[in-house]
Symmetry: C5
Subunit: 164 residues, 5 copies
Amino acid sequence: MAIKGLGQIDKEYDGSKLRIGIIHARWNKTVIDALVAGAIKRLKELNVQESNIIVESVPGSFELPFGTQRFIEYQSKIGEPLDAVIPIGVLIKGSTMHFEYICDSVTHAIMNLQPRVNIPVIYGVLTCLTEEQATSRAGLVPGVMHNHGEDWGAAAVEMSTKFK
Amino acid sequence: MAIKGLGQIDKEYDGSKLRIGIIHARWNKTVIDALVAGAIKRLKELNVQESNIIVESVPGSFELPFGTQRFIEYQSKIGEPLDAVIPIGVLIKGSTMHFEYICDSVTHAIMNLQPRVNIPVIYGVLTCLTEEQATSRAGLVPGVMHNHGEDWGAAAVEMSTKFK
Amino acid sequence: MAIKGLGQIDKEYDGSKLRIGIIHARWNKTVIDALVAGAIKRLKELNVQESNIIVESVPGSFELPFGTQRFIEYQSKIGEPLDAVIPIGVLIKGSTMHFEYICDSVTHAIMNLQPRVNIPVIYGVLTCLTEEQATSRAGLVPGVMHNHGEDWGAAAVEMSTKFK
Amino acid sequence: MAIKGLGQIDKEYDGSKLRIGIIHARWNKTVIDALVAGAIKRLKELNVQESNIIVESVPGSFELPFGTQRFIEYQSKIGEPLDAVIPIGVLIKGSTMHFEYICDSVTHAIMNLQPRVNIPVIYGVLTCLTEEQATSRAGLVPGVMHNHGEDWGAAAVEMSTKFK
Amino acid sequence: MAIKGLGQIDKEYDGSKLRIGIIHARWNKTVIDALVAGAIKRLKELNVQESNIIVESVPGSFELPFGTQRFIEYQSKIGEPLDAVIPIGVLIKGSTMHFEYICDSVTHAIMNLQPRVNIPVIYGVLTCLTEEQATSRAGLVPGVMHNHGEDWGAAAVEMSTKFK
């Protein structure tokens, strides 16, 4: 019995009225670019208008949580509030312990950000032990895995619609 | 001396006046479905009315804590407040470190959610190293282990009655 | 030089005016029962009156932090406020990662509960890799170790007297 | 395909109006000094005026988070508020578990400081398993790696400009 | 190149006007006593008056964070507020996972205590894998390492003076 995999979505969601933010780190650019493209592709398939997909960047993944908060605040201030944000980062294990401490603090901070900003913040961070794991999950290795950015786009639409 | 196992409950609890929420992730659907069914079965045995068991879903386990909070707020807003919620997720170790960071942040977030929402939130998350560990704990491997969803149903009724 | 072990207490404490709560999980009942008995024995030796020792239970250790908070609030509400609480749980490593995530979240939550409830919450949780480690620390293996519940009883009296 | 490395910055940032704080621990001084120099060099290249780069120190990395908070508060109090701070520390694995607990608590505290002080706090902490890893990342081993302090200087300018 | 070790202090600090608290656990008393003596020795060298060094104790390290908070509050209440506190504990790895969970929760709690009490709380906790590591760091093994309590005394004076 193969039990893994994401179950069918509970119903079709319509993103035509949603404004979704994507904020990505710039380390490991090839993978990041593919993940951002995957998220945007899925958002559009769910009827999010291109003009309602706002893309921003920060240098590295450690900057994602505070950057996400400020991004949300800024969009509200200019009268274009976001319904959900997808922070995207790609972390790959190196020889120091940098990977472990960044992954851990960023994951907790993204989780804990949600009750404060009061919109869904989708976890778009890959925490990989090898480069191949990262490229596979961005859909860059044909026939291996799908682009995980697509899941994040779908989650953003579902979460911001369901619990509005 | 066999010391493991859950001790006898301190008294019989009656769930006939309770409204219990179940919110589950959709990854690893076979296992999730069995756990949700186990929780519902036990809730009913403890006299929770079927109409007072409200089931909701989110895409993945990372969405459980914020989804749980919003689910609780929504039920209060529509005048049908919940007495306890059981977030249910099934996480299985993969090749990246995704499992570790999701398990860790979700567990802390469910724990820390309770003082804010001020109702018991039962930890219905399986953190397994293999698929077989997950199916066993959902009662899907005959004769091995009982369905852990049943424990969660019982805990929801006890915790929301005892400390009301 | 043997350096391990608890140093002599700084002075004798008198618990005759204190009301102490014990709240225990029910998993691994034999060990739990011994630890609870050890804590009560020591509390009485320090002059805490039997009628001022209030014992409550929750299903499992994950329920301890929120149960402790509600227990404290309830005792205050009925006009019988607690001076300290000892949450007691026994966790034993199993084959999944359940042990690690429960131990970690419960320990942090008990720690962080203290400034909110503003009374000492004594850490009465055993985090064991084997059953034998648990029975030894509950004084159930003659001649090996003392019952750790006694230390927790003493700590509850000292902490609630010293920093009152 | 080489995927690692920091992607091109999204645009040129001008730091001429910014006031940036650097607060460093004093353990492992050679490496610290090089990292501080690297950060300052990059800040100047991005037009931050030398008089607007304020450097402070604390004894060790554990003191960085609270020191950073006080540093920010002090600069505000004297009418010279900071736009971003870079806490810099160098931790190297020793034989006890000191490294692990300091790295973990300092990283989380720097992350969690940001929403409270409401300016970007750049993670300038090296968490190395060997001395060589530390010297390499400070640009002290010719031809191996660049000085990571430069990245932190650039991140401080970008983050404080972009989300002002 | 030897890079390890604490760099020279940035300037001489004068502790003659400071009131410093030391609060220590009582487990592993020989090591604790030496560390407390080392801290006091250094405080005096930096001109802290003996009557301004207040020493308190708690049973074990888990009690340090809440004990520290209450100690600070009590000293304020009696009109003798502290300028910094050094919680001192000695944890040594045993056979269960007690060491890991105590070290982790205590370290985070001491870190997070600082913004709430708004004075420096110096991390005087040894997290050792062997008894020898502990005695060495308390200056009890001649010619091996210096007494780390001295560093903590110096850090208390510097931190409470610099960011007053």
